[in-house]
Symmetry: C2
Subunit: 398 residues, 2 copies
């Protein structure tokens, strides 16, 4: 079973919007065991859209086209699909009423333009999920199918999950599932990872033919992605857990997180389990570290707060960084204080040098790391490096 994706909209070609919809759809198709060999972006031009839809139908069993279902004259996806199907459009009065009701609920009046959104190619059906004013469509073409969804991400997601993915699975007769597990690592290069895992690949192969792939992801670390196809979710999970154990044996404590976990969620969770608390001194990182912590700890029960201050942005030595961490620890009365700061004496240190410091109940410790030079990356890497320093320190004193 193959399915292509056609993203429609001149604004996509002009780079005014990044086409993240196709990526998301591609991910869902992969998880459903459906191949996707091509994804195309095309502008609001009827001939070119028709060309793309016909070519995709030639090569694949199904096409998901995304965008161009709005109320303006630019929105021509409905018309082009009718053309490709060789049928006329008819206006679905029930949908007109649904759209009218949505407008009225917001205290607004539906314009005539919006009625165009209720036009449906003959033989096509409207997708039941309709979170916005643009209905999605299921359009049979012979034994193949075109699905049309709006470009608004949450509307598209709802239709994909509610109708399109189940329909594709039914059509494909696919009952197997594909599942991935992502192990996030920090502190080893991609080639280093490959070399370290090399001797274990045979064993990994034996346990269930999971594929293994590396993906450099900046401050989210270097990801090791295990992917497996299995009869059902339970079987897939079993294989992935065996493989994860093998990879952990090989890589050790450079794995800091799994799947949706992040460096900050892991640190906060560790502190929560231990009943300990944390405060930050942010000068170089100016709010960036607090922002990441409060995104997942809104109640501030582990992360107590941050001092965001200048201190001229930098300090002379590791000991001064420890003093800043201790200042935050004292100000908030927490178990730990954490700081990341640049040295003031640039003559003595290479650009990109950062001190990370931890104030512990008993003492303070600091480390020096070398980070990428430009300010934006330096700040982000400083956040992760400081958190990684704390993570490893906590692991040593478990």
């Amino acid at each position: 079973m193959r399915c292509e994706v056609v993203a429609i909209g001149t604004e996509l070609l002009l780079g005014q919007i990044v086409d993240s919809n196709s990526s998301w759809i591609g991910e869902q198709l992969a998880l459903a065991g459906i191949d996707c060999h091509f994804q195309v972006k095309v502008g609001d031009n009827p001939e070119r859209i028709a060309f793309c839809l016909r070519q995709a139908l030639d090569r694949a069993d199904a096409v998901i086209c995304c965008g161009g279902l709005g109320p303006t004259q630019d929105d021509i996806t409905r018309d082009v699909i009718a053309d490709v199907m060789g049928v006329a459009l008819h206006r679905d009065e029930a949908i007109v009423e649904k759209i009218r009701a949505m407008f009225e609920a917001r205290g607004r009046v539906m314009t005539d333009n919006n009625k165009r959104q209720a036009d449906v190619p003959k033989g096509a059906s409207v997708i039941a999920q309709m979170p916005g004013t643009a209905p999605g469509l299921v359009c049979p073409v012979g034994d193949k199918v075109i699905y049309a969804v709006p470009g608004v991400p949450y509307e598209m997601h709802e239709m994909m999950e509610g109708t399109i993915l189940p329909d594709l699975r039914r059509r494909s007769g696919e009952t197997a599932v594909i599942r991935s597990r992502v192990l996030k690592t920090w502190g080893m290069s991609e080639s280093g990872l490959a070399e370290t895992l090399e001797p274990h690949l045979d064993k990994l192969d034996e346990t269930g033919h999971a594929t293994i792939a590396f993906q450099a992801s900046g401050i989210e670390g270097l990801k090791v992605r295990l992917t497996v196809k299995a009869a059902d979710e339970t079987a897939a999970d079993a294989v992935l857990s065996t493989e994860e154990a093998l990879v952990r044996e090989a890589l050790g404590d450079i794995i800091f997180a799994v799947d949706d976990e992040t460096m900050e969620s892991v640190v906060l969770e560790t502190l929560r389990r231990r009943g300990e608390t944390l405060a930050l001194h942010e000068s170089l990182t100016g709010g960036l570290m607090a922002m990441r912590m409060t995104a997942i700890d809104p109640a501030l029960d582990v992360f107590a707060g941050a001092l965001t201050r200048g201190v001229d942005g930098h300090v002379a030595a590791q000991d001064d960084a420890i003093a800043l961490a201790q200042e935050a620890q004292a100000a908030f009365g927490t178990t730990y204080g954490l700081a990341a700061v640049t040295p003031s004496n640039h003559g003595d240190f290479a650009p990109g040098t950062v001190f990370a410091a931890i104030a512990s109940p008993a003492d303070g410790q600091a480390t020096t790391v070398a980070l990428p030079g430009d300010r934006r990356r330096l700040r982000n890497y400083a956040v992760i490096s400081a958190l990684e320093f704390l993570r490893k320190s906590l692991a040593r004193n478990a």
Copy 2:
């Protein structure tokens, strides 16, 4: 002159990486006056890549293909291009040495795999800009051309700007330039903007045929994009400035920024001009606001710092929000304090209610805004709403 984009990499189809490269390339092509009708994503499969390159060459004068120039067996772009050109690959020993030197500079040893990166199709030339170990290629095919660039964004950008865009402009004979200006607005809906500008569109048309487009951009505001084609940069700027004046006359003070300016850069610049300073009290926004300020004011000469604290995350009334702003103002000794916080008594307020408060030298003032419900959006909108409140307050007391 038409140019298509082919993005290569199975990870793009699987949604493991969002293809932002094509968007960026599309934007640069548009600014250079070069049409781009199709952009395609394809996996690491030689037949399918060759198919995409041939089809793009059929339809357009030039193709930029992005990705697949790395050292691993998956990286087959070089081989496929040679195939499409009908030539063999030869190893460029000067490039081998360049790659070897890069490895040595980082204290690492070049592997044999990396030598593959020095393979060049006969008749192709290597792009002079080579910030990483993957050389870019200019590959003539008859009177058309394939450009190959690596998928690493900064490497790709350097090659596009240094070689590919100038080469495309030379080939197209295009001397006109296309320029845009983006006016960012806050506080009016897209249909409201359209209605307000409607009576002025005729006048806008007269002044130089700039096109006008709206683009909803979340917390970056609703953008009004003016685009004009002109003989040169100076002529384009002149038309854009006239049009901007007309749009400003129609929209007034809802325009908060132009082009790369942001809400925070505008607020900081206003304060800097006035010789005034600012401190924040962040509880709801937990570092988010400080992070945005310090990204552009690293020296903290205007933005003094932030108190990131719980206060149970919320307060009873506007007056308490003012007290928090005053606490920050006092702690840092600044001209102003700013706070954004949620009400504690949920019974009395709709979800998404946020108090924004300013502490001024003479007094305090607060406002109540209604924001989107989910926490991530609420935090981000609270930051922008508070800064907008300060921006308007400063404008009133100019």
